[in-house]
């Protein structure tokens, strides 16, 4: 859906927000619509994406991995090679530039694994702005290196100790800050979630991924048979999928099944959730029988979120995209396999997509091609993987 009327993807999305935020959201929408087609804005953003962030990213043929699995050719869209090590910079440069055009002096953001926080801190430093980042207390511990990086970049990190102390609570706290400082503050949301226009705006800034995939595959005289990306909030996935929804490709989003879909320790919102309202949007959520949001689990802090971008909910219901999931165990296996066959250490988020690619490749023909978005690099996760392996590998 190009620019959804009333911010609705079917019944999903919308603006379920406290009244204090309405003028800010209206101002944002007005400015986004004005600048998204503005030649100078586009030129400036393109410049930063190319020269600062490192676009276009390569589409890498993972020959060793493909041959090992014996099926389709696997291509990796290398968002891990971007500045900061993740796709997040596409969106933060876009929004930070927009905030600057809107003459906003103060930027706030939320972060799960810390990648969006780091990308916000980088974009803000590059554009001469300062950011404050909310991060769940639990995440500040498991991703302490990213906290340090944000500090180095001149951003302040606020650890959030309420609720489950993860991403959803960081979003709650960022929204509270925004309500309080609405006249001066720009909220730089990190995923394709939240009230309209955030889901569509973040999708548009991330669509550079899918657009590049399209042209890079064309240069190879190919069209992808399958396109795979991981889904937490779903920004790398929607950026990958959106330009390709009109193609014939099978599109698969991969959620975090954690300890398994029946374990209650997972973050697989679309696979196991139900419809509801959270963080300004109508979407699929993980909730109990009473409508209380339940706690989530994933080995990957970046996917540890009980909601999902509303456009994904729309694609789930109209069946254009399939949503599968990968367990922590499958993710670690995929992580190790990619690391050892290709010398690429993926983020644990991205390893979810690799886990699905392994399954798809095994049952596909050699003539077929699979494109997997490698949303980020795994440096931030090696300690987490080390802990997992030391607990789970028997001598």
């Amino acid at each position: 859906m190009k620019y959804p009327k009333n911010g609705k993807f079917g019944e999903f999305g919308g603006k379920y927000i406290p009244e204090t935020l309405v003028p800010a959201i209206e101002e944002l929408e007005e400015n986004y619509l004005k600048f998204k087609n503005d030649k100078n804005f586009k030129k400036e953003l393109d410049y930063y994406l190319k020269v600062y962030a490192g676009r276009p990213t390569p589409l890498y043929y993972a020959k060793n991995l493909s041959e090992k699995l014996g099926g389709a050719k696997i291509y990796l869209k290398r968002e891990d090679l971007l500045h900061g090590g993740a796709h997040k910079i596409n969106n933060t440069l876009g929004q930070a530039l927009l905030a600057k055009k809107m003459k906003k002096k103060r930027i706030i953001a939320e972060t799960g694994a810390g990648q969006h926080g780091v990308a916000t801190a980088m974009a803000c430093a590059a554009l001469g702005m300062k950011a404050e980042v909310y991060m769940g207390y639990k995440d500040t511990i498991r991703q302490k290196l990213n906290v340090f990086r944000m500090n180095l970049l001149g951003s302040k990190v606020h650890p959030v100790k309420s609720g489950s102390k993860t991403l959803k609570d960081a979003i709650n706290e960022a929204i509270r800050d925004w309500i309080t400082n609405v006249e001066t503050t720009y909220y730089l949301l990190g995923s394709a979630v939240g009230p309209h226009p955030y889901p569509v705006m973040v999708r548009d800034f991330q669509s550079v991924i899918g657009n590049e995939i399209k042209s890079q595959m064309k240069k190879l005289n190919k069209t992808p048979d399958s396109v795979i990306a991981c889904v937490g909030g779903g920004s790398n996935a929607i950026g990958t999928f959106y330009p390709l929804v009109d193609s014939n490709a099978e599109i698969i989003g991969v959620e975090a099944a954690g300890h398994g879909l029946k374990s209650k320790k997972h973050s697989a919102t679309l696979s196991a959730g139900s419809k509801g309202v959270l963080h300004g949007m109508m979407t699929y959520l993980l909730q109990d029988k009473e409508g209380q949001i339940t706690e989530t689990h994933s080995i990957s802090a970046g996917l540890d979120y009980p909601g999902v971008g509303p456009e994904h909910s729309y694609f789930k219901d109209n069946k254009r995209v399939k949503y599968h999931s990968a367990t922590d165990t499958e993710v670690i296996e995929a992580f190790l396999m990619l690391t050892r066959t290709e010398g690429i250490i993926p983020a644990l988020e991205s390893a979810h997509a690799i886990a699905e690619a392994i399954k798809v490749a095994k049952k596909s023909k050699k003539s077929e091609s699979i494109v997997v978005t490698l949303s980020g690099r795994g440096d931030k996760d090696v300690e987490e993987v080390q802990n997992y392996l030391s607990k789970n590998v028997k001598d």
Binding site: Y16, I17, S162, H279, G291, I293
Partner: protein, 268 residues
């Protein structure tokens, strides 16, 4: 006429303004909620807002957030909440407003939830994350059953004020400050201006209640003087509940309520 509208009409006749209290159901437990309600009624409160806890109360500050967490941990569920409302209804016919977040109603289905709440004795609803744009189904479900009290903010535009006032019944909830509940920033000039502006835009067609950050008799006095038809005090009650032992709860709440209510009596 709804029970809430009747209350405002009655107060007008008596030359009084409304004192509205917010308390979290089940905080710190169900027994205290009953004692608190008794104290409020004895103290002369006009309308009681009962909070139903939500896991992610994004418009609320630390005090209400903490009360939500405790209430949920104590096992507050929808059925138990309705049973509590029925108990309260046996003691008083004071207007009761349910304040919670949209997902709680949506999840059960607006129609079913609102009917069940009405049967228990709820007269109106406040949902801080329900915008007027998304409210069609909610409004239909509540029509002729319960009042829908919407929030407006000091930065709400003229045209929106009218749109929101049209969707509201019972009263209109003016958020006094840019911020979340419970944060004390003092009386702001922009709030005083907002009260006057909203009164003008709505032409006295619906009463205006002012809430968020209202915690002392002096605050009450100033907002009433500025033209508010009612004031809403929440976090200040929760703080008092938090530090008062169960045995003294009723009397402490009663005397605090009296001190606030006194400010809503207008000189003839």
């Amino acid at each position: 006429m709804s029970k809430i509208s009747e209350k405002f009409a009655e107060l007008q006749e008596k030359n009084q303004k409304a004192l509205i209290s917010y308390i979290m159901a089940g905080f710190p437990n169900e027994k205290s909620t009953i004692s608190v309600v008794r104290g409020l009624v004895k103290g002369g409160v006009d309308i009681i807002e009962l909070g139903f806890p939500f896991s992610d109360p994004l418009a609320d500050g630390p005090v209400i957030q903490n009360a939500s967490t405790i209430s949920l941990k104590k096992g507050t569920k929808i059925d138990k909440f309705f049973a509590l409302v029925k108990k309260i209804r046996k003691e008083t016919d004071i207007p009761l407003v349910l304040m919670t977040y949209t997902n709680i109603l949506y999840h059960k289905g607006y129609q079913k939830f609102i009917k069940d709440a009405k049967n228990a004795g709820i007269d109106g609803f406040i949902l801080p994350d329900m915008s007027v744009e998304e409210s069609k189904e909610y409004l239909q479900a509540a029509k002729n059953i319960a009042d829908t009290i919407f929030l407006i903010s000091p930065n709400t535009s003229k045209t929106r004020i009218q749109k929101i006032a049209k969707a509201s019944s019972g009263f209109l909830y003016l958020v006094a400050i840019y911020g979340i509940t419970g944060v004390k920033t003092g009386i702001k000039n922009y709030t005083i201006k907002a009260i006057k502006n909203v009164k003008k835009q709505t032409d006295g067609k619906i009463p205006i209640g002012v809430g968020f950050g209202v915690s002392t008799p002096d605050d009450v006095k100033k907002y009433i003087k500025a033209g508010a038809d009612g004031v809403i005090v929440g976090s200040a009650f929760l703080k008092l509940i938090e530090k008062t032992p169960q045995s003294k709860l009723e009397s402490k709440i009663e005397s605090f309520t009296k001190s606030l209510k006194k400010q809503t009596l207008q000189k003839k």
